[in-house]
């Protein structure tokens, strides 16, 4: 006989800064069904948010600075890209909490005519995650959520980018690897390619439980909202801290996602 849950009462009394009012968070789970062939619509149109969760920004509010494209590739770093998430509690008080990642590296490839996006890939150092509260950051690093010690990296690699009809609107399909699971996700994005460079804005939801991040589902919603903006710098609202301080701190030089911390 196996059962689920435990220590909720005791844990909730003591993890007050983390998972009670202080919030909780992310977890990822592809809301667009895993394995679905594109067009599942991710979390819906750009700017859509998970049920009950407040969005920290709408894509239309973001003024993105184009990332230069060199030899058909725009290099993605925390200096020119941001990846953020919003998690909420279950029940009548969702208390949305915003967080993101301070270390990652990636590339966005455009086709030879420089007018369409061909592929996007990014590798994230999970231990670089930040939130608005240090105890929450520490808790998210723990095995209850990201388990960053065991899984120091998360990845996304696109497999298909299809135009949606409207100018600049595309649906990006790819494989998201989080914890030990790799699932296919699809989400809409607004892409702009010009002589100055590339910008991309995407907002979608995933189900963290699908990736094995299934702890504390009675208190923390499984659905997590993700926002990716290529063209906007990562600006952690508070550095990673608590007992789970990241190795390099926020805004550190990119390129470390595949290095330090790998077992």
């Amino acid at each position: 006989m196996r059962f689920s849950l435990g220590w909720m009462i005791v844990g909730s009394l003591l993890v007050s800064a983390c998972s009670n009012q202080a919030g909780s968070a992310p977890a990822t789970s592809s809301k667009p069904a895993t394995g679905s062939s594109g067009g599942a619509g991710g979390g819906g149109p750009i700017g859509s948010t998970p049920t009950g969760a407040a969005s920290p920004l709408e894509s239309s509010d973001v003024d993105a600075s184009p990332v230069p494209i060199e030899l058909g590739v725009a290099k993605l770093t925390p200096e020119n890209t941001k990846i953020e998430f919003v998690g909420t509690h279950t029940g009548n008080k969702p208390d949305p909490r915003t967080g993101g990642f301070a270390k990652f590296s990636g590339a966005a490839e455009v086709d030879s005519d420089g007018k369409t996006l061909k592929s996007v890939s990014v590798e994230i150092e999970t231990g670089s995650l930040w939130t608005q509260m240090q105890p929450l950051t520490a808790h998210l690093n723990a095995p209850d959520f990201f388990d960053t010690r065991e899984y120091p990296a998360a990845k996304f690699e696109s497999t298909q980018i299809a135009a949606d009809g409207d100018a600049g609107q595309v649906t990006i399909t790819g494989n998201l690897t989080l914890l030990a699971a790799t699932k296919e996700v699809s989400f809409p994005a607004n892409v702009s390619i010009s002589g100055e460079g590339l910008t991309l804005k995407a907002k979608f939801s995933i189900d963290r439980a699908e990736f094995g991040m299934d702890k504390l589902v009675e208190r923390v919603e499984k659905t997590v909202s993700l926002t990716v903006v290529i063209g906007e710098k990562t600006q952690p609202q508070q550095g990673p801290g608590g007992l789970g301080s990241a190795r390099g701190g926020p805004g550190s030089a990119p390129g470390a996602a595949t290095g330090d911390g790998k077992k």
């Binding site: 196996r2 059962f3 849950l5 220590w7 844990g11 095995p143 702890k215 801290g241 608590g242 007992l243």
Partner: protein, 281 residues
Amino acid sequence: MNSVIEFVGAGIVVPAAVSVATMWLSRQLLSAETSSRYSAAAAFAAAYGVGYLLLPSWAELVPKRHWHWTPYLALAAAVTGPISAANGLHLVERWLLYLMTAFVSAWLLVPTWASLQPPRSVCVPLLTGYLFLLAAMLEPLLSRLPAAAISAQLTISSACTAILVAGFISVTYAQTAGIVAAALTGCLLAASFSSGTTTARGLSLAYSVTVGGWAFIGCIEPQRPAFGLLLAPVAPLSLWWCVSGPVSRLHRRAAATVQTVMVLIHLAIAAGLMATTSLNP
């Protein structure tokens, strides 16, 4: 509500009941001398094993991660601990058994993360020393103090360790570490309602490996080690102040009170250290 009932039932009641039943069985089946050494340790290991078995599937039975080894280490310690408590064993032989068990435990409990600080080459000997000293200093106390009294303090310390892990590290880890406290609760209940023949001899190694082990697991989980956690399992060692001097001559109830206060003070220091560290990263 159902999940709370499940947790209380499978995470606390069942292990405690298994512990009580195993202690009773061992007294029935084993000789008095053997039972005095094995009953508590066997009860503890059986209870922890059953509790672990009832955990969700993320608590894997085939160890894939360092903390998956804890129920097997508890079992090993439940064998070597009572052996080391046998009459006629030289102190050096006893300590060698402790050292071997502590080393094997450390080898399995220290993860192989590249980012581990201190590195594994430092953690293994440090943890070996920690587990060894804890067991070596605790075992004599098990013989000097009444079983119920020492079991109570071990239960309080293990429960506090699990609570600190829940509050500062991980609820997942705490859920497993909490079973240790439930198992010791069973030992306490058995000792409390026995005819006075029950002892806690042989339990120190199992306690050291599991409670000390979980404190270590929680300690090294964050990027910056939470060393305050390591103070919680050693709280029962403060009972050495109670086995000699004026405190040792106190009446039973007064002695129990003083013992509990001393352990709680120690645990409060550990909790305060954890709280301070988390507020000032």
